[in-house]
């Protein structure tokens, strides 16, 4: 089981969290001028890293805050956790 140290609540088990997706994905604007290929890349072209991966999690069964978690997808080690929107 993953133990994710929530900055607000402390270390909690993964069953309290919901995985959202890769962090740092920015929606291209304005949408009228985006090519199909670029739009597909935005929607589907995820990095799918093997190794350290920056991703968004929501502490849905806890404080509800959105977190940026760096996690190693090959070992499941949680490397760092930060509040979303903070550097």
């Amino acid at each position: 089981m993953l133990i994710i140290p929530c900055p607000w609540c402390g270390p909690r088990g993964e069953h309290e969290f919901t995985y959202v997706g890769e962090a740092g994905v920015v929606r291209p604007v304005p949408s009228q001028s985006i090519s199909d290929a670029d739009w597909a890349r935005y929607l589907y072209g995820k990095r799918n890293e093997k190794g350290p991966h920056r991703e968004l999690w929501v502490h849905a069964g806890g404080c509800g805050s959105c977190l940026v978690v760096e996690r190693d997808t090959a070992t499941h080690a949680v490397i760092s956790v930060a509040k979303a929107g903070e550097p």
Partner: protein, 417 residues
């Protein structure tokens, strides 16, 4: 390769104390050049090599496997075969797989232990039963043999299910595909390997591809831990690691890699006649020939390459299963494991050309690759031999993610996502 397997040979070897059996395939050393190189020695890769040699006469072929053949998802699945999909494109390709499975033991001269015991999908609410009815209608239109079952008919199939009045997951009915069932996963891998080897295909184990060499945008050679191997065409058939290798070839795939877990109980006497799937609880279960219950789970819902499933999903599935079959509650588990599956955004496979000329894809089977092995190999062999799509693979082209012509089998996949 050893000679043809038969009852007579079995008797002869038995009398000789079984000391005369020879390896079923050669341990090939990689040559400098092949007409076609297939990366990945799982079921799909080996089936591709077999059909290339058998149907298209292309025999200067190598299958490169970084570990040992069948050591990845081909050895980690729940061995279920079925073709009960919703969309015509899916039904066509999965039913091709099932039909090929039906003749495979004979074709490969290797008993794949196909057991068409029926695949029963449960509906736990009135709404789920309505959906089942809709699915059954779609499948019948697709030419797939499914039957809608009411509650009593489900009870006739699997009397051990929980039909109590206070059941947490009441059974409203379900549907069954009688041609569905299970096959022996290792035998499928070994059977294709042996048959491909007999036709001249080199199966190279312990050979990891580390890079791609292109000339003018066209594939020319592969860098491996055992030297450079030139290739006319290349098939990329590596399931959960498709994205990793695509990145080395310079493009991205619309795929995420997840751990899909399964587990087996201690062996018990035969008590389960069919394969039972319960989409509501996410559990699916069959009984192996050894008597173990083979239990499948949903995905661990975050990307993973760790080949192990976490406890949260295990617990959810076992809780569901214990509610479905109260008599299973005291069974012990013997093993639990996970395979890394390549899930595309519409839960359908990606087959055909890639952005690199001469490099062809067979990936994105996600949670359901085993059942599709013969068809995946069949259509990819066609692509590699002709350079163009097979009629059945065309809808599954990578371009669909740009055009928007997705084939959304989230429900057909039958597994919680």
């Amino acid at each position: 390769m050893s000679s043809r397997y038969s009852v007579l040979q079995l008797l002869r070897q038995g009398i000789a104390g079984h000391r005369g059996w020879t390896p079923a395939w050669r341990m090939a050393e990689p040559k400098k050049h092949y007409d076609v190189v297939i990366i990945g020695g799982g079921g799909h890769g080996l089936a591709t090599a077999y059909y290339l040699a058998k149907r298209h006469g292309i025999r200067n072929v190598a299958v490169l496997e970084k570990g040992w053949i069948g050591g990845g998802n081909s050895g980690r699945n729940t061995t279920i075969v079925r073709s009960n999909y919703f969309f015509p494109e899916s039904a066509r390709i999965y039913d091709l797989a099932l039909r090929l499975y039906e003749g495979l033991s004979e074709e490969l001269n290797f008993n794949i232990m196909l057991s068409q015991r029926g695949l029963l999908t449960l509906a736990h609410s009135e709404a789920a039963f309505d959906l089942a009815r809709r699915s059954v209608n779609a499948m019948l239109l697709n030419g797939v043999d499914v039957e809608l079952l009411d509650r009593d008919q489900v009870r006739d199939e699997e009397p051990l299910l929980n039909f109590a009045a206070d059941a947490r997951y009441p059974i409203h009915g379900g549907y069954i595909q009688r041609r569905g069932g299970i096959a022996r996963h290792d035998a499928v891998v070994w059977g294709y390997a042996r048959a491909a080897d007999a036709l001249g295909v080199d199966i190279v184990q312990g050979c990891e591809v580390t890079g791609f060499r292109t000339v003018g945008g066209r594939i020319a050679a592969l860098e491996t831990n055992r030297g450079t191997i030139e290739a006319g065409r290349v098939g990329l058939v590596v399931a959960g690691h498709s994205g990793q290798l695509a990145a080395k070839a310079g493009f991205a795939l619309p795929i995420l890699s997840y751990a899909l877990q399964a587990m087996v109980s201690e062996p018990i006497k035969p008590l389960l006649g069919t394969v039972v799937m319960s989409p509501t609880t996410g559990a699916y279960v069959s009984q192996s020939d050894k008597g173990e219950l083979v239990i499948g789970a949903g995905l661990d819902l975050y990307p993973s390459y760790a080949q192990r499933g976490n406890l949260v999903t295990t617990r959810t599935i076992l809780a569901g299963l214990a509610e479905l079959f109260p008599s299973f509650r005291r069974l012990k588990l013997m093993r639990q494991w996970a395979g890394i599956v390549d899930v595309a955004w519409d839960y359908s496979p990606i087959i055909g050309p890639s952005p690199v000329e001469g490099l062809f894809l067979n990936c994105g089977w996600g949670t359901g690759g085993f059942k599709a092995i013969p068809a995946g190999g069949f259509v990819l062999a066609h692509c590699l031999a002709t350079g163009a799509h097979h009629e059945f693979s065309a809808p599954f082209d990578l371009k669909r993610f740009e055009t928007g012509a997705l084939i959304d089998e989230a429900a057909g996949a039958g597994i919680a996502h």
